[in-house]
Amino acid sequence: MNGQDPAAPPLLEVRGLKMHFPITEGVVVRRHLGEVKAVDGVDLQIRRGETMGLVGESGCGKTTMGRCILRLERPTAGEILYDGVNIATLDRKGLLALRRRIQVIFQDPYSSLNPRMKVGAILSEPMKVHGIHPDRERRNQRVRELLSLCGLNPNFADRYPHEMSGGQRQRVGIARALALDPEFIVCDEAVSALDVSIQAQIINLLEDLREKLSLTYLFIAHDLSVVRHLCQRVAVMYLGRVVELASCDEVFERPQHPYTKALLAAVPVPDPAVEAERTFQPLAGEVPSPINPPPGCGFHPRCPIAVETCRRIRPEPRELRPDHWVACSEAG
């Protein structure tokens, strides 16, 4: 259906990825006080042609994961194999080539477009940087193509971002990501800032583009209903680790990790009759600090089914059902 074959080698493979940010004090003499373990040992595979969802709450490390894959950060440890090549250690020249293949769509269409540039210039910029279409006529033609591909009037090339609505700006952000004809796009909360009615337009656009251009997406989001709609597989992150990873149907129909269950229960559905019947106990407490995470399983202080060993031993992902991975010793 999506042209993806589970047996084919993955387009992207993340192995044991860690991203620790140092916390320092002092200007002249820097003292190392500790580190924020934003991503703390993640394994992930993304198949060609699929949309992989990455969900979790603020500070779980989902955005840092995306930034590592884009190589906007150099990971502390681990490998990121893109089409078989480890990009975690690429040099400048290698990175330039990589960025023709991997692009990004950001959350906020207000701050991610340069307010002093016209839309045409915004879309030409990546082509200039990478020396594609050196001929100006051809480049302008490509700009018009990109705009209509994203559902905008080609004349928008002459507009400034402030002359457009939020939804239109996000379409420009998408067009820019497509300018270099990439194969893989990291969508970092790409529809979160948009109003409900516009959100649905952009979600449909992203789906159309994936089919038309054979794209692969990593879709980072906190809105579970949007992720379920768009993604084939989903990884749930908590405190820098993936706690559950499976197909969307599995995660949403048969969640196994207690955190995933709590996350799903916390989302009210738009139906008063359903909500009147539904009782749930909101998850107590808050996410611990990634500077000083709890020993053992990171979720144990809030977990309704935690046992003594959870305080000491960090559970590794287990394949509870075919292709359904859960990092919990008590699940199943």
Partner: protein
Amino acid sequence: MALLEVRNLCTEFRTGVGIVPAVDGISYTVEPGETVAIVGESGSGKSVGALSLLRLIPDPPGRITAGEVIFAGRDLLRLSEAEMREVRGGEIGMVFQEPMTSLNPVLTIGRQITETLEQHRGADRAECERRAHELLGLVGIADAARRLKQYPHQLSGGMRQRIMIAIALACEPKMIIADEPTTALDVTIQAQILELMQRLTRQLGVALIVITHNLGVVARYADRVNVMYAGRIVESGSAAAIYHNPRHPYTMALLRSVPRLDRPRQARLDPIEGQPPDLTRLDQGCAFRPRCRFAVEACAAARPPLLPIGAPGQHSACFRAADLAAAGRAA
């Protein structure tokens, strides 16, 4: 008698590009102890409408140009500024979206709660501190003695929102206005805060106006709903009526456009095409007309008034409201 009756409230902003009628003649009521949701998208006027009730619109550029806000028998728009200060935080509590920017960063939590009590109650220090302890317990914050000495930046977002609720409840208000109270919070924390607000408002008999764009939140927590579009209320009614038998094309389209966790996955979403209107360029017709599947010629001639239709207490501002029942069932 209604606790709050808003009649034909109009608020406009004068900007460089013209006059923006942000709130354009809205009328609704809130009964004692009930939860009323105001739903709408950015620019629909839902926040400005609520801030206007408390006269918190910065002037200039904003101005309340018409209407009445009858709260417990008095028109708030006619009160003196001193009387209004008594109402704000006294009879009406407020909870805003961003607890970090709505708390004072240089005052302790304890001071911010006691300040409200001193202002409105004229209570002495010992009495204020006793009440502050009690309030923290009420909103589920353990270790009150330590928390009262802390500053906002030492608390998490969820904790700060609990403090905001404690301050809003401090003077035993009759009503609380909550403007996107959980939009900045994570979903598990959002659930904690909303369950807490629901429990407390029920327990204490406080009415609640909650402004939100989250249709799930409305379905779970609201008794009645006002749907806003382009500065007007386009549909109002009980939550059950609005969700199960909407009589305005915008409400119908809004409900259809969201992906839902409780239903099988759809192949494609059904968005509302087009863009929200530019409020400086509205004509005399219905503002939703350019995006409406049901628009007819009459919709261009005049704005449809909000009239009773459907379930008891349900109102819709659509010339074709009567035709929509059949269309809604078919969809």
